[in-house]
Subunit: 419 residues, 2 copies
């Protein structure tokens, strides 16, 4: 992509009412636009990052046997009354609206009810189980305060997978597997080393459930590290002697390290709660009706995007991990007014594109050298390749995360990025 064609411009300042580091940098870099607190539009660079994150998640869900579907935002009252979750006293984050005839509707903040109902049309026999279905879709939460940028959205992107098993045992096999699947996603997003499988209270369905928490000062949660090697932690809310005993933690409570953290995923055993409410049963091998055993597995691509920025930035801007970066190479022509330099820069651009490398090419004639270098740091593409009068037929390469630059030839650059 030629930067002279990219419609977004960088900005020196983020909106004054923006408090979070992730949204400030993403707005300044032209990745997102703030529509209101907790509601952001994704501009071309931001959409590329969001899609890269979603596609990594999609690949891992598909590999785990997930089948993708796409449910609806509009949710009907009767469906949610069956589980008691329609009442604003039970769920305090509904956005509600209504049809012209007055029928009340809600905007989905999760989809257990919707998918359990759908599955009554498709699950009949033990032969249909287990099955796993997921979606990546926009969800809504009417947060009283939304000050954490992409990390706490009123409108946000969510991957939610639901598992349908014959019984608790079959469920638990998949539930255990998903712990690894989730850790693989975080590793691919470059945050595996800071992410902990975190024990928390299980809600109404089981004694314990698991969250995934990533250490960051920008986080709204606090965890205690129980096992550094196995990457296990306990949420502060559940840091009791009983829980420590249940998980055989022998280290003294005071000796466990405390960290601020971002919740980046959660996995729940739902038991029969939803299958009971919707009559979601299957015939077992004896021809008897049994309730389906459900689980749900959430992870928000947009929140992850915010978390990645919190974990990967310096004073000058973002430092995208290669796996999610909007482009792999930022080709910067420092002297675009010089025809000879521009001819060489064009040649490198064409060669990189020919090698299938995603390149953002700063070919702007008006921008100054300082502006180009500042913009490049702000936008945070992993590898910067500078073409300039001084460098001649050499290209100055610098990784965004490193200080040192070095000169390479065209051939060396192509061989390097083809790896």
């Amino acid at each position: 992509m030629r930067q002279s064609h990219l419609f977004t411009k960088t900005r020196k300042e983020a909106p004054r009412d923006e408090e979070s580091t992730n949204a400030k940098l993403l707005i300044r870099g032209g990745f997102i636009n703030k529509e209101m607190a907790g509601v952001y539009a994704y501009l071309p660079l931001g959409l590329r990052v969001l899609n890269n994150i979603s596609n990594i998640i999609r690949e891992e869900m598909d590999a785990a046997g997930g089948q993708e579907l796409f449910m609806t935002v509009l949710q009907d009252k009767d469906t949610w009354e069956r589980t008691g979750r329609w009442d604003d006293k039970v769920v305090d984050s509904w956005f509600k609206t209504s049809l012209k005839n007055g029928t009340e509707l809600g905007l989905g903040f999760t989809h257990e009810e919707a998918i359990a109902k759908i599955m009554t049309n498709h699950i009949a026999s033990y032969k249909d189980l287990p099955l796993y279905a997921y979606q990546i879709q926009t969800k809504f939460r009417n947060e009283a305060r939304a000050k954490a940028g992409l990390m706490r959205g009123r409108e946000f992107s969510m991957k939610d997978l639901y598992s349908f098993s014959k019984n608790k045992e079959e469920h638990e096999t998949f539930y255990e597997k998903m712990k690894d699947v989730y850790m693989r996603v975080f590793t691919r997003l470059g945050m595996g080393d800071k992410t902990y499988l975190t024990i928390s209270s299980g809600g109404s369905f089981s004694k314990y459930s698991y969250e995934f928490q990533t250490i960051s000062d920008a986080g709204e949660d606090t965890i205690y590290i129980v096992d550094e090697e196995k990457k296990i932690a306990i949420n502060k809310d559940d840091f009791t002697d009983e829980v420590l005993a249940d998980f055989n933690v022998t280290v003294a409570k005071d000796d466990l390290r405390q960290e601020r953290s971002i919740e980046v995923g959660d996995i729940y055993s739902l038991g029969h709660k939803f299958s009971e409410a919707f009559g979601l049963t299957y015939k077992n091998e004896q021809g008897e009706d049994e309730l389906v055993y459900m689980g749900s597995y959430g992870m928000s691509p947009s929140r992850l995007m915010g978390a990645i920025v919190e974990l990967n930035h310096d004073d000058n801007g973002i430092m995208w991990p290669e796996s999610v970066a909007p482009y792999r190479v930022h080709l910067v022509n420092l002297h675009a007014q010089n025809d000879e330099v521009s001819a060489f820069a064009d040649e490198i651009y064409t060669a990189l594109q020919g090698a299938g490398v995603a390149v953002l090419y700063d070919d702007r004639r008006e921008a100054g050298i300082g502006e180009k270098l500042k913009d490049s740091d702000l936008v945070g593409i992993p590898l910067r390749a500078i073409i300039s009068e001084k460098n001649g037929a050499q290209i100055e390469l610098k990784k965004r995360k490193e200080k040192d630059a070095h000169l390479v030839s065209k051939e060396q650059l192509l061989s390097l990025v083809s790896k």
Copy 2:
């Protein structure tokens, strides 16, 4: 995809309250689930079709210079009051909701206001223009009645592109180009021969605008064919002597053929309406401020999916055009209980996958022969390849749209689908 793993099942009957042919067939085939009138979830097969349609549109928008972004569902009242479109008396199809502090919000049914506001941060100079931005996103319309299946959704998928030009002349060059781009999309979707560029009244911004109308008895509109060769028509609502004169139609009014049709796209010149409301200006070459000249170009992937089914079905089910079909080949093993037959069917499945062909493989052991053939017709994959005891090492090929089948060898099949 092995059909024994696909979680959706076909159904003999659609819900009783479903009137439209497209939704009836799509529900029976397991493509969509009806959540309420005008609101459908996309199940795995349906999502594949919807994505295929969206990707064709995306390719054509990218080729026309469009840059993809992703705006928000939640819309803020102040923004829409600036153009007078917040009032329910002006726009009667809003879904509205509110924040906890009482602030009113709307669910976006279009995004002219939102994108004009965003562009004030990115357009400054004549050098930034023209530019084209689009999204493919979920939109909401509070329709009083929604009985046309995917063709009139309360929640539906929309591609909306917006053009930003220096002046009317620059705008019109792109507007003319988009007529061809749209026709190319319809051609790729297999509906080019039935789709007409249709003159309609221009709304508040210009005397005329254009819709694209596809002939179908399921349509809610009526058009008069003005030029069969150039594929031009006039909407019944605008079929007046004045309009005929403006477009130099010399054929007598009574001689023009009348057809029922589905509106599958529309393109509007917006002039300065939105740029004026949001102060969207640019500096011209003389350094003076001028208003940006806008256009908008809509097309709904979900409505197109409904229209495609209306245009491509028979009494037995859907007949997907190859460009949007969920899979290209339906491999049907009629005798999955027979190990020898199944070994051969597995071999063909592996070979087709190896050749990069998208295959749905009916490997179900329990389903009977009649059920498998009926399901295959209902789901409507373009090419059916039957493996059976009778056929031995031969494969019986039949196109969904044709009557005659013929036997081929494995090698012939592979060479055929590799084309």
